[in-house]
């Protein structure tokens, strides 16, 4: 029997990581609001690289690492081999990411980059080992679980490549022999880790939240192969063989992989049994509008704007939507999955009548402040569009607007995750156990 409290990490552990990730995103957007001109400047500028890593490591990777404390138990229907390893890996990851972002922001300080990169590598390496050993206890056969594992492998490779880049930057001798191939680090991270991870975990989660069961998994499998093709072609190109052909091949594979992901989500939505999707799930779905947008930008040679649309729009919105859903699950489970106690005092007058009827625990959607969800969705989506416009046209007004919108969206998300945690803690103190006896219509009316 699956028990997320026992088989995964203690729920407060991933929940803390998710709250910290939301805080990191808000901090990054505050910095951007103070320095919006970084969006219209040189894309290799240290401050923009620092902001990018605050997003990819402080937000996205931290959500990944936090979720990996629970999701494998759910997806593989088994238990984590070391449920408390997250105490070490998550704190190491946070420290390493902070050092890396600080190192970039301070003008590419080699010591900070080396220390931060090493810590992030160690944290993700340990997370990967735990994931693989967990999978070996009950090897998953479904495409979603395999895609998730592959995505974490790519995530580790991406940060290892990033560490190698830092070493190359610090050593002219290494730079001469290895070169400085940022594209490999970026592509492995963006597509191997993020696209495949969102595709794999998203297929499982979206089908659970939308009740879209029993569809074919071939699109996800082919998408995984296409991501491999993309990375291998890039590697061959970096090695000096047929460079332009390999670049073309990697981009073609990427375009096909993105199209398959959009198709997969559309298919899941088409066969869903639950017609009304909740706001965070809608945000996950809306994120996919940025995939074709990024493809079109890439087609017109706007690589930086395409990267922004992919990272902020697709990855940011998808991860943000799933963050809220997963956090509400985790906090609810932590609060209400208490072991069964002894029978309640039997004071009921008639046989078969429950002895006590305290109020039932809240539904997951009752944990959210609904007014915050559209602010998060449209703040992040609108901010992404403005970032793209600022990068395309060099417009300072668009850059300022982008920073403002992203900060508002990130603040609404942070307020939501804090509200979920606080609300569950308050409700748990008031509602000690489940009972009740409402009709379906009554529960619907209150939610």
């Amino acid at each position: 029997m699956l028990n997320t409290d026992r088989d995964g990490a203690p729920p407060h552990l991933p929940a803390s990581a998710l709250v910290a990730a939301a805080a990191a995103l808000f901090a990054a957007t505050l910095y951007l609001a103070a320095q919006p001109q970084v969006l219209t400047g040189y894309v290799g500028a240290p401050r923009l690289i620092a902001l990018t890593h605050a997003f990819t490591l402080g937000f996205v990777t931290l959500v990944y690492a936090g979720t990996l404390q629970q999701l494998p138990a759910v997806m593989f229907v088994t238990r984590l081999v070391w449920p408390r390893l997250g105490y070490a890996t998550l704190s190491t990851l946070v420290l390493g990411a902070a050092l890396l972002v600080g190192g970039f922001g301070a003008g590419m300080r080699p010591v900070l980059l080396a220390a931060g990169g090493t810590l992030v590598c160690l944290a993700l390496g340990a997370t990967l080992v735990q994931l693989v050993l967990t999978a070996l206890t009950r090897p998953p056969r479904d495409a979603a679980s395999r895609a998730l594992i592959t995505a974490v492998v790519y995530l580790f490779i991406s940060v290892a490549l990033g560490l190698a880049l830092a070493a190359v930057r610090a050593s002219p001798a290494l730079a001469a022999s290895l070169g400085y191939h940022t594209a490999l680090h970026q592509y492995v991270g963006m597509f191997g880790a993020f696209l495949l991870g969102i595709g794999g975990s998203g297929q499982k989660l979206l089908s659970m939240f939308a009740l879209s069961k029993g569809g074919p998994a071939w699109r996800l499998r082919v998408m995984a192969y296409l991501v491999h093709v993309c990375v291998v072609s890039l590697l061959i190109g970096v090695a000096g063989f047929a460079g332009s052909l390999m670049t073309w091949l990697s981009l073609a594979a990427l375009a096909a992989a993105g199209a398959l992901q959009v198709w997969e989500v559309a298919a899941l939505l088409q066969r869903r049994l639950r017609r009304r999707l909740e706001a965070p799930v809608r945000r996950y779905v809306i994120a996919h509008a940025f995939l074709p947008a990024a493809g079109v930008l890439l087609l017109f040679g706007q690589r930086d704007a395409a990267t922004a649309a992919f990272l902020l729009g697709f990855v940011g919105l998808a991860v943000s939507g799933m963050l809220v859903k997963i956090l509400s699950f985790l906090t609810w489970t932590a609060a209400y999955a208490a072991p069964v106690s002894a029978p309640a005092s039997r004071t009921a007058p008639h046989q078969g009548v429950p002895a006590r009827r305290p109020s039932p625990p809240p539904l997951l959607r009752d944990l959210l402040r609904p007014e915050l969800e559209p602010i998060t969705t449209w703040g992040l989506a609108g901010g992404t569009v403005a970032v793209v416009l600022a990068m395309l046209g060099g417009w300072k007004l668009a850059a300022s607007g982008a920073a403002l919108l992203l900060a508002v969206g990130a603040l609404a998300q942070l307020a939501q995750v804090v509200h979920i945690v606080v609300k569950v803690n308050q409700a748990h103190r008031v509602v000690p156990a489940l009972a009740g006896g409402h009709a379906v219509q009554e529960r619907e009316a209150t939610s």
Binding site: L2, F76, S207, Y336, A337, V340, Q351, L434, A439, V440
Partner: protein, 109 residues
């Protein structure tokens, strides 16, 4: 809606009361109780022992243990119930056709 198979052997609690108590156990994601979702396949009451055979919407559901614990807790609160056994089965798998009309309406069918 799928009918729950009910068996009573000298029951200390009526099966109707058991099913009524099960309507207090909700899937917190869907907001619908396990009876109206059609998850309860069978209820057996033998003396003071209650046995429930039920399913969930999907194998690997993260709420598996929670819902199972809540079912046990709701039934142990019934006067006359001394022992509760909850079996979660996957055959037959849950289907939306098993839901009550009100549950289908609530999900937007």
């Amino acid at each position: 809606m799928t009918e729950t198979v009910v068996t009573e052997l000298n029951p200390a609690v009526s099966a109707a009361a058991v099913i009524e108590a099960l309507t207090s156990v909700y899937d917190p994601e869907l907001g619908i109780d396990v009876v109206n979702l059609g998850m309860v396949y069978a209820v057996t009451v033998a003396g003071s022992a209650i046995s429930v055979e039920m399913t969930l919407t999907t194998p690997g559901c993260p709420l598996h243990s929670t819902i199972e614990a809540h079912v046990t807790q709701a039934l142990l609160a019934l006067r006359g119930a001394q022992e509760v056994d909850v079996q979660v089965v996957w055959d037959p798998p849950w289907s939306p056709l098993a839901m009550s009309d009100s549950a289908k309406r609530a999900l937007g069918f």
